[in-house]
């Protein structure tokens, strides 16, 4: 099980995952990008900050 960089939770990699593929962490719903396959590593995909108004 590979660790999410944001919350440390387990992220299971889809079988035929490719580099720079995007997936969500199951625990903190951060969007992650596959930045390496050997070993598996993720980086947090840039999230355009949603403006929640005033």
């Amino acid at each position: 099980m590979n660790a999410c960089p944001v919350c440390g939770g387990g992220v299971n990699l889809p079988i035929n995952a490719v580099l720079s593929e995007l997936l969500d962490c199951g625990e903190c719903s951060s969007e992650l990008e596959v930045i390496s396959l050997e070993p598996v590593r993720f980086a947090e995909a840039p999230l355009e900050a949603e403006d929640w108004g005033e």
Binding site: V6, C7, G8, G9, D24, E27, C28, S29, S30, E31, L47
Partner: protein, 346 residues
């Protein structure tokens, strides 16, 4: 089947307990009492149960022995009739505040009068399974936590049990719905006055402070500063707690602390997400469920962590928690009869 009875079943919490026990596979509901509605059908007080049961309310005198006796009386009444109740059932689960505090002095301070039966205080286990599971399993007497206290305690417990916060700086504000004040209509609960209001219902001195202190203290005295505000909501309680870390911790460290405390808990969900409309716990999603959703946010500009913990005050804050304790006391699967996942949208 296990025979259970409810004393004071015409109130909102009593009605919720009735709903749960009617659907509980291991329970046969014996008697449900209400002095005011004795002889009337339970549907009179609980319209959702019409056509679901033909049970009628009975009076206290007619109460017969049973296996588990639930007490849902206004504060102060269970302790007065304790003699009668303790002779009727092997196990008693009390939802009132009468036996929640372990020390008579703490009770006197917060309830403004001496506890009528201090010797019984030690008999009752404080009923929050996530914190006292083993003790509850072996207990004959359980006093369930109050709703504001339960929401606050479950949010803060992971940080307090690892001594990670300053012990006198915690500020807690609980937002609550109108069902928490119970069934009795007053001038302030009159719809034109209550609807849409945001009311500082108890800015200071709320009694649940004592339960929070009692549950979170870890050998060293602590101080929590509680405020309760009522908002436009019927069911629901959400505690926003502000704690100040006593060491530097990253977001990931904090995730680890909450996971360590609650990973295997069936009724606690860690809710902290970066997308969607429900990124932090929101009581709106929890009506009718026994969940306590817990989330947090680390303040980048200070040592503050804001912990958000939400429940349905009538479920995890009362009836659901009582059934969860009962399941433990009877050696049943803890989640029996408590699997409803909640409605969305609602």
């Amino acid at each position: 089947m296990i025979r259970a009875s409810i004393v004071g079943a015409s109130g909102y919490a009593g009605g919720e307990l009735l709903r749960l026990l009617l659907a509980h596979p291991e329970i046969e509901l014996a008697q449900v009492t209400s002095e005011r509605l004795a002889g009337k059908s339970v549907g009179r007080a609980h319209p959702n149960l019409r056509g679901v049961t033909s049970l009628q309310f009975s009076s206290l005198e007619s109460l017969e022995p049973c296996d588990v006796l639930f007490l849902c009386l206004p504060h102060g009444e269970a302790v007065e009739r304790f003699e009668q109740f303790s002779s009727l059932a092997e196990r008693i689960i009390d939802s009132s505040a009468d036996f929640r505090l372990q020390s008579a002095s703490l009770y006197a301070k917060y309830y403004g009068k001496e506890h009528p039966r201090p010797q019984e205080l030690g008999e009752f286990v404080y009923g929050i399974p996530e914190i006292h599971r083993d003790k509850i399993r072996d207990a004959r007497r359980v006093a369930c936590g109050g709703c504001n206290a339960t929401a606050s305690i479950l949010g803060l417990y992971p940080l307090y049990r690892e001594n990670l916060v300053e012990l006198d700086r915690t500020v807690i504000e609980v937002k609550v719905g109108s069902s928490e004040a119970g069934r009795r209509a007053t001038s302030t609960s009159h719809h034109p006055e209550r609807s849409g209001s945001v009311r500082a219902f108890a800015p200071t001195g709320h009694r649940h402070t004592a339960e929070i202190v009692q549950s979170l203290e870890n050998g060293v005295p602590i101080e929590v500063h509680l405020t309760v505000t009522s908002v436009e909501m019927v069911r629901g309680a959400v505690a926003t707690s502000h704690v100040f870390l006593n060491r530097d911790m990253s977001e990931r460290d904090l995730w680890g602390v909450f996971r360590a405390a609650y990973r295997d808990e069936p009724f606690i969900r860690l809710i902290k997400e970066r997308q969607g409309s429900y990124r932090y716990p929101d009581p709106k999603l929890l009506a009718g469920t026994n969940f306590c959703d817990v989330g947090f946010e680390r303040d980048r500009d200070s040592s503050r962590v804001v912990v958000i913990s939400a429940i349905d005050n009538l479920m995890k804050g009362s009836a659901g928690q009582a059934v969860q304790c009962m399941n433990l006391m009877l050696g049943l699967d803890e989640t029996t009869g408590l699997s409803f996942p909640g409605l969305h949208p609602l």
